[in-house]
């Protein structure tokens, strides 16, 4: 089976995720876009693993999923804290990280 189509799909998902991170102001949506990018990468790795006939890519996918879960915990708590203090989840509003 050729992985080409899966790779196209993964590339498309990754592009959508990237665009979402760069374009959306809502932190939650941007966060979801990051998840989309991670999963696009997962999809690509699974496709390669299947094409090459070994398990390396699938193992790596599990790692990414675990890390993504941990990241979601931290990321969501940060977003909630920001929302509590600022009553907004706009990433443009939280722009104090500069000189």
């Amino acid at each position: 089976m050729s992985p080409d189509n899966y790779l196209y799909l993964a590339a498309a998902l990754f592009a959508i995720g990237t665009a979402g991170v760069m374009l959306r102001r809502n932190a939650l949506v941007a966060f979801m876009s990051v998840e989309l990018m991670l999963n696009a990468a997962n999809l690509a790795m699974v496709a390669f693993a299947s094409a090459r006939g070994n398990l390396d890519g699938q193992v790596a996918t599990f790692f990414v999923m675990v890390v993504a879960a941990a990241e979601v915990v931290v990321g969501l708590s940060i977003i909630i804290t920001i929302y509590r203090t600022r009553r907004s989840t706009s990433v443009d509003a939280a722009n104090l990280l500069k000189l």
């Binding site: 760069m22 443009d92 722009n95 990280l97």
Partner: protein, 636 residues
């Protein structure tokens, strides 16, 4: 008597003479005690100072008596003290040499020094820092004794620097006066130039002879090539010029009058300025074989004796007249020392008699100032002969001594120098002769303006004679001003001959033709002085003068101007240039680099927008860039 070229090696000190170092140690320790003792010693400190110097004088006198009694071959005593520097094969020992030359200096320093100490007890009585003053005086005496008693040039240099330090402290003693502080600095700086000469001379000796002891230098000098002998001689002369205020390093001496008057007496009579003459006479082995160096000494001496006398004629400040006179008299000594073996003994002879009469006159001037509420301007004096009778009489003895009135101290010593100068060079002789005439003129002027004529006192000044503690030293010094010349005239040449290798002259009591000529010129000087300042009233303000001689004399022959133009201004200019270079080029370079970094950083800082999406864009672009590079490199 015909001179025999005999020199005796100094004998090692034994028994009591090995304690000769106490002569230096006692005033040094006294100085330390006075400085460290604090207020506790305020009441008695000055007497401790007097006692210390008197003790040194007693030791010096004892040593002198011992030398007088011993055989000629056993008079020079060496007192080794300790090894100072030992490095490999190179060894410098600290030791004392008490020979016929140094004992005379030690006697002069401690004797006149003790009298000046006694006088200072009275003179400095109103000063609340009197204890400190005596500490410095003791330090001065100790340093000067180290200088003259050392048995090698390195130890001599220690004393030399000590004298420089003590003179700095004493000239600037009234440090609350900016002029005194400046004078002290000036003396110190000008002395450093001379010290540089001495340092280089001593280093040359160490390099050439491997030792700086007088014995080694004397022995080695004759085997040295002419260039090095002349170089060492000229460097020593530079050192002597600094300490003895000879042209071209004379300018500090007149400013040094800012110190208290006893200090002036000490500097001018017993210590400091005599050091240069001592150095030249002590280094006779070098100077006698180098015509270049000895001629330079004669020239310096002759020029200084005329310059000093010239300055003396034009000043209204009594102390500055005396300061000019000191320059001039030291010039005589240098001249004599430069004449070679014919002059050494006369240089020392004149130095000793000058020590007495100049200390006498300086202390007398101090007594006059004491009477006149510290006014130094002679135009405000006049008619003091009756009011301050003791001061007048003692000063008069000094006056007769310095102008060379027959049978007073200066008569013998100065005439010998003039005669010796004529033997060697007519030009030097004429300079010495003219100097004697000018000396008579300015001293007559000083006497007439101070003690005779009508009263020109300022309002509220009530002159009075000084207390006994000040007049007794004056009387003692006056006695020596009268008698010292006759006392030593027939003795000093034979006495010094083994130590300095001078040629012994036949001396007759009847003056020769040059002697008569000298007296004639001195008489002319006195007559001129009387004609200008005794015959008619002296104006209470210095009349404006366009006479170039007067203008030059009042301005110290423009010595300061010369120094300013030749040294100070170029140095200041160079310093300013260096400061500008430091400020503009070096600081500018460093500062510019910093400014550049700050500017760049300020631009780069703008990348940090705080916008998360901006960062995301940057990251994405970075990833794309890396990806493109990776792909392109795969293709290539």
């Amino acid at each position: 008597m015909i001179s025999l070229e005999t020199t005796f090696a100094p004998v090692l000190a034994t028994g009591l003479t090995s304690y000769a170092w106490l002569i230096i140690a006692i005033p040094a320790i006294s100085a330390a005690v006075l400085l460290l003792g604090g207020r506790l010693l305020d009441q008695v400190g000055h007497w401790l100072g007097v006692a210390a110097v008197t003790a040194s004088f007693v030791i010096a006198a004892t040593l002198f008596g011992y030398q007088l009694m011993s055989d000629e071959s056993a008079r020079a005593i060496s007192v080794p003290l300790y090894t100072w520097i030992a490095a490999g094969t190179w060894k410098v020992t600290a030791g004392l040499l008490i020979d016929q030359l140094s004992i005379l200096f030690a006697l002069l320093i401690t004797g006149v020094g003790a009298l000046i100490h006694v006088y200072s007890v009275g003179y400095m009585a109103p000063d609340e820092r009197r204890r400190r003053f005596f500490a410095y005086l003791n330090l001065f005496i100790a340093a000067m004794l180290t200088l003259v008693l050392a048995d090698n040039y390195l130890v001599l240099f220690v004393g030399w620097e000590g004298v420089g330090l003590a003179s700095y402290l004493l000239i600037g003693f009234w440090q609350h006066k900016p002029s005194a502080a400046a004078a002290a600095k000036k003396a110190f700086v000008m002395n450093r130039i001379g010290d540089l000469g001495l340092t280089m001379a001593v280093m040359s000796m160490l390099a050439l002879f491997g030792s700086s002891s007088f014995a080694a230098v004397n022995a080695g000098a004759e085997h040295l090539d002419a260039f090095w002998v002349a170089t060492i001689g000229l460097l020593l002369l530079l050192g002597a010029c600094g300490k003895s205020a000879q042209v071209p390093l004379q300018a500090w001496l007149l400013d040094a009058m800012e110190g208290p008057t006893p200090v002036s007496a000490l500097i001018h009579a017993a210590t400091m300025v005599t050091a240069g003459v001592y150095l030249v006479v002590r280094s006779h082995a070098i100077f006698s074989i180098s015509p270049v160096a000895s001629t330079a000494v004669v020239v310096v001496g002759a020029v200084t004796l005329l310059v000093g006398a010239w300055i003396g004629t034009s000043k209204d400040d009594i102390k500055k007249v005396l300061a000019g006179s000191t320059m001039s008299q030291i010039g005589y000594m240098m001249l004599a020392a430069g004449l070679g073996p014919v002059g050494y003994a006369f240089a020392i002879f004149h130095l000793l008699t000058h020590g007495f009469f100049k200390a006498n006159m300086f202390l007398g001037a101090g007594s006059v100032m004491h009477a006149m509420d510290d006014d130094v301007n002679m135009r405000h004096y006049g008619a003091l002969a009756k009011v301050t009778r003791i001061t007048f009489l003692t000063f008069g003895m000094g006056y007769l001594a310095i102008i060379g009135f027959p049978f007073f101290a200066g008569y013998f010593s100065k005439d010998h120098i003039i005669e010796a100068a004529f033997e060697v060079s007519t030009v030097a002789g004429i300079a010495a002769l003219v100097g004697a005439g000018i000396t008579a003129f300015y001293m007559t002027r000083l006497m007439l303006m101070t003690f005779f004529g009508e009263k020109r006192w300022r309002e509220g000044v009530h002159p009075h004679e000084s207390p006994l503690v000040m007049t007794v030293p004056l009387i003692v010094l006056a006695v020596f001003s009268i008698g010292a010349g006759a006392l030593m005239n027939w003795w000093i040449q034979d006495w010094l001959e083994p130590a300095v290798g001078n040629h012994v002259h036949e001396i007759s009591i009847v003056p020769g033709p040059i002697g008569w000529l000298t007296m004639l010129i001195v008489a002319a000087g006195i007559a001129l002085g009387w004609y200008l300042f005794g015959r008619q009233p002296v104006p209470a303000e210095a009349p404006a003068s366009r006479n170039p001689f007067t203008v030059a004399g009042r301005n110290d022959l423009f010595g300061d101007l010369v120094n300013d133009t030749l040294v100070v201004r170029p140095t200041m200019f160079a310093s300013r240039g260096l400061v500008a270079n430091d400020d503009k080029v070096i600081d500018g370079g460093v500062g510019g680099l910093a400014t550049l970094t700050v500017g760049l950083s300020n631009q780069v800082r703008k990348l940090q927008t705080g916008q998360v999406r901006n960062y995301a864009l940057t990251m994405t672009l970075g990833v794309v860039l890396v990806g493109v590079i990776v792909i392109l490199s795969q293709l290539g």
